[in-house]
Every structure is written in structure tokens, then in C-alpha cells.
Assembly symmetry: C2
Homo-oligomer: 173 residues x 2
């Protein structure tokens, strides 16, 4: 079966490499994306050393990014009895992955935007010139829209997969 194993190894290596490259576009660093790809396609939980070896990266790098992925909730730490080392295992359910990423993006992208918009709207609320009114108006429109998007994101992220698909089906009808 070495033939088959080679094909798999090749496909998996490609997935890891490309997913890593893509990570950059998504605003997460290459290593983090590669580790995530590696573990999503790992049959067994892996140790820091496994990851280091497979991706040919330093211990510091592996460690930092593994912990970051754990903080996101995309990886879990697994302890095996009789083993002192930590093993890492990925969340593999796509809907779970989606909701985790959506929540994180909301936290990092939507919420700071809301804060800015609210502040600027507030500061300009009572400026009684045409320019002032136009500015306030623009801030309010942005604020309303972003607030709305934020609510939608929450709502969807908190749904179970089944209902979400149901809803989407309705959407396409």
C-alpha cells in the first residue's frame, strides 16, 4: 500500500502548503494556517515535536501558534494517560469551524468598527452646519449597517447546523 500512502501524503502536503499560503489572505499567519490544516487532516492528535518535524519549523514558532489556535478554539489540548507531553487535536466539524471563525472575526473586525462609528457619530451629533450634518449622517448610516451585520452574525453563529441549512434552503426558494 505504499503507492496509496504516497498519494495521500502528497495530497495532504499540498493541502497544508496551500492552506498556509491562503492564511495570509485571511489575515492569519502562514504557520498558524498550516498547523490548522495539518491537524484538521491528522488521523491522530499530534505533539509539538510532531508539528515541528512535519512543517520544519522551530519550537517557539510551533508552540506559539499551537497555543494561539487553542485560544481561538480551533484546537483542543488532549492529555493521554501515561504521557507527559500535550497532544493537540483539531475541531473538524465545518459548522463549528465556521462559527468560531465568524465570532473571532466579529470580535476583531466588527466590534472595533462599531466603537469608532459610535464615537464619531456622538461627537458630531450637534454640529449645526451642512458639512457637520452630512458627516453625522454618514456615521449613522455606517453605524446602523455595521450594527445590523453584527446582529446577523451573532444570530447565525449561534444556530445549529440543521436549522441554518433549513433557513438557507428557504432563502434559495
Amino acid at each position: 500500500m505504499s503507492e496509496e500512502d504516497d498519494k495521500l501524503k502528497h495530497a495532504r502536503d499540498e493541502f497544508v502548503a496551500q492552506w498556509g499560503a491562503l492564511g495570509t489572505q485571511w489575515g492569519i499567519n502562514r504557520t498558524m494556517a498550516q498547523i490548522h490544516a495539518l491537524l484538521m487532516t491528522a488521523p491522530q492528535p499530534m505533539t509539538t515535536d510532531d508539528v515541528m518535524e512535519n512543517l520544519e519549523i522551530s519550537r517557539g514558532n510551533a508552540h506559539t501558534n499551537l497555543k494561539e489556535l487553542v485560544a481561538w478554539g480551533l484546537l483542543r489540548v488532549v492529555v493521554k494517560k501515561g504521557e507527559r507531553r500535550e497532544f493537540f487535536e483539531a475541531e473538524k466539524d465545518v459548522w463549528q469551524i465556521f462559527t468560531i471563525v465568524a465570532r473571532e472575526r466579529k470580535r476583531r473586525e466588527i466590534e472595533p468598527a462599531m466603537a469608532i462609528l459610535s464615537k464619531c457619530a456622538e461627537e458630531s451629533r450637534e454640529i449645526d452646519t451642512p458639512e457637520g450634518k452630512a458627516f453625522y449622517d454618514q456615521m449613522r448610516q455606517l453605524e446602523d449597517f455595521v450594527g445590523f451585520a453584527s446582529k446577523m452574525s451573532d444570530r447565525i453563529s449561534s444556530m445549529k447546523y440543521g436549522p441554518a441549512v433549513q433557513l438557507a434552503a428557504k432563502f434559495f426558494s
Copy 2:
């Protein structure tokens, strides 16, 4: 009215600065986000030199990012009669801005992901080992989900604002 004008200038400067900082999180560079913020809140179209002066940046930087924003569709070039210079004006409609950004993100983030997933699924389709099947299965699940998200994004982006809000209202009921 110098008092009022000052307050407005302050609020606007803050918006530009903060929006620029936020841009980094969104994966676009600071200058590009700042220019966008500046023009979204400009009562009149602005020239390259206006932008350079206001943000205190070089001509090359201003030029490159203005053109990039035009390429995205977030700015339009305006020609005034009797003027040789180009003026730039921002799309101010929030729904338009949203659909433009959604389309761009799809192009840069979703489509490359789809390509990788399809290729890796294809390559692993016939591997007849437990690991091979698991890998193929994972690729397919990701592919299906991302494909689905892609369709949803298209569907929403191509809607008019009114119907989109209607739909959202149903969603919250």
C-alpha cells in the same frame, strides 16, 4: 462658526485615523483605509494633492492607493470641465460598499480556497485506505461548505437593499 468647524474637523480626523488603523485588521493597508475614510466623509471630490496634503503621505503612496480603491469600485474618478487634474469621489451608499467588499473578499478568500479543496478532494478520491477515506471526506465537507457560503455570498450581494432588509426582518421573527 469656527467652533463648529473645529469640532467637525476633529471628529473627521479621528475617523480617518482610526479607520486606517482598523484597515490593518481587515487585511487592507493603512493608507488605503485612510483614503477611503477621508473620501467617504468629503463634501467634495478631492485631488491627489488634496489627499497627499491631508494625510501627509507621498505622491506615490497616494496615487497607488487611490487607483487601487478605484479598481475595487469604492472610488470613482471625476473629471471636471476646465480641469486637467483627476478628482476622486467615494461611493457613500453603505449597501453598495458592503456588496463591493463582499465580492472582493469572495474573490480573494473564498475562490482560492475552493480551488485548493477541489483539487485535494479530486486527488484523494480513490485512495482506498482508512486514512485516505478520512482525508477525502474532510476535503469534501470543507468543499461543500465553502461552496455553499460562496453561493450565499453571491446571492446576498446581488440583492437590492430593500429586499435584503425584508429578508433579514423575516430572519429575526
